[in-house]
């Protein structure tokens, strides 16, 4: 038998042996040819060396202590995985229960009405004139500067008109029925509040 086995056949023999988990099959040519037997032994030892090197490489890179640390880390992680997630309350203290919708509507309505009434009163009454003493309000300074500058003249004219308008409003607001006038007398005016608030205690 002159034809020797090539490395592909060796590889195939090895593949079959490894794949089936059995020892390398005894090829008839290997039993007969000493040269091929020798070459195959060399091929086998080369493959064995690869495995030995791989194991040595691993042992050097991952020593036993590292494996022990890894094991405890795995168990710790398992424990953490099972622990239910902690929910952090935010805000820490629960908010007060919101007021019922009807109450909130009443509050908003009352606030809006008070604002409108206040705005109307502010337009109708010149509360500043009721106060005594010099005012620091800029519009008052315009009044004091009468004649000093031509720009203040229209403002004075406006003030005169306001007074007339207010008198007209007051006359219109007076009850026409005699029976109601007594009530009107008792009802405090906005000016009374302003005056009382400015009286030094």
């Amino acid at each position: 038998m002159n034809v020797h086995l090539d490395e592909d056949v060796f590889a195939e023999l090895w593949t079959n042996a490894i794949a089936e988990g059995t020892p390398v099959a005894r090829h008839p040519h290997l039993q007969a040819c000493a040269e091929c037997r020798l070459r195959f032994a060399s091929f086998s030892s080369w493959l064995d060396e690869l495995r030995t090197d791989a194991v040595a490489d691993f042992d050097e890179a991952v020593p036993a202590e590292r494996l022990a640390a890894q094991q405890s880390q795995i168990l710790r992680r398992l424990e953490t995985t099972e622990r239910p997630a902690r929910v952090i309350a935010f805000p820490k203290h629960p908010l007060e229960a919101p007021r019922p919708l009807a109450v909130r509507r009443w509050i908003a309505g009352a606030a809006a009405a008070a604002f409108i009434v206040g705005l109307g009163l502010g337009q109708l009454l010149n509360l500043r004139d009721l106060s005594s003493g010099p005012s620091t309000f800029p519009a008052d300074r315009l009044v004091d500067a009468r004649g000093a500058s031509p720009e203040v003249v229209p403002a004075l004219a406006t003030i005169g008109n306001d007074e007339e308008d207010l008198a007209a409003f007051e006359a219109a607001a007076m009850p026409r029925y005699e029976a109601l006038r007594a009530y009107d007398t008792f009802t405090p005016r906005a000016a009374d509040f302003v005056t009382s608030s400015r009286v030094p205690r």
Partner: protein, 209 residues
């Protein structure tokens, strides 16, 4: 590769953990699962290391695989060996890591190694083993082997490592990788042939010395 008694023990332990989890007896389930971890940890780390070629990353991959296997133990079917089921989870995790690393390396540059090219302190620590020259030669040979294996296509590499390093049969490798048995054999054959081409001459030279 563990024999049948080991596999039976694995199956029993996995079923017990599954039952304990279902009953809500979690500390006991963990304790029982620790047996499985202890039994498969070394082999799992070796497989992961051969895949990712970095001890820290292999460590993380193994941890992730064990945690994932524990969390999904309810999907484990008893007719499949635990080892095979678990190894599949591990390999998928390793392949994901390799993909992520390749993507990272495409966009980022890593810091260079130390002056001697060392990777960690352990490699610089003197020992009482073989001579420095022998250690250096051995390390150089291992580096060449690792480089050659890294040059193999993914499937060939997986099949070669599982078959030759871990001693799995083609049927087991088929279950772990999802490849046909015949495909496993073809990949194994090609991997051996290619490695022989890549390392054959160096191996021959080393033996002559």
């Amino acid at each position: 590769m563990a024999g049948n008694p080991g596999r039976e023990a694995d199956g029993i332990a996995a079923s017990a953990v599954k039952a304990l989890q279902a009953e809500g007896r979690l500390p006991e389930a963990r304790e029982r699962y620790a047996e499985l971890v202890a039994r498969h940890q070394r082999r799992a780390t070796r497989i992961a290391f051969h895949y990712v070629r970095d001890s820290a990353e292999a460590d993380e991959a193994v941890q992730d695989a064990f945690v994932k296997a524990y969390s999904h133990l309810s999907t484990f079917r008893e007719e499949l060996p635990f080892e095979v089921w678990f190894t599949r989870i591990l390999i998928n995790g390793c392949l994901d890591r390799i993909k992520a690393r390749t993507r990272r390396e495409r966009w980022m540059t890593s810091m260079p190694d130390g002056p001697g090219g060392e990777r960690d302190f352990g490699e610089r620590t003197p020992g009482y083993g073989p001579s420095p020259e022998a250690v250096l030669l051995s390390r150089e040979r291992r580096r060449q082997v690792a480089e050659a294996i890294a040059k193999l296509p993914d499937r060939q590499r997986s099949v070669f490592m599982l078959s030759h390093y871990e001693g799995c049969t083609s049927r087991e490798v088929s279950a772990m990788t999802g490849l046909n048995e015949s495909t496993v054999r073809v990949h194994l054959f090609r991997a051996i042939r290619k490695l022989r081409v890549l390392l054959g001459e160096d191996a021959g030279r080393a033996r002559e010395k």
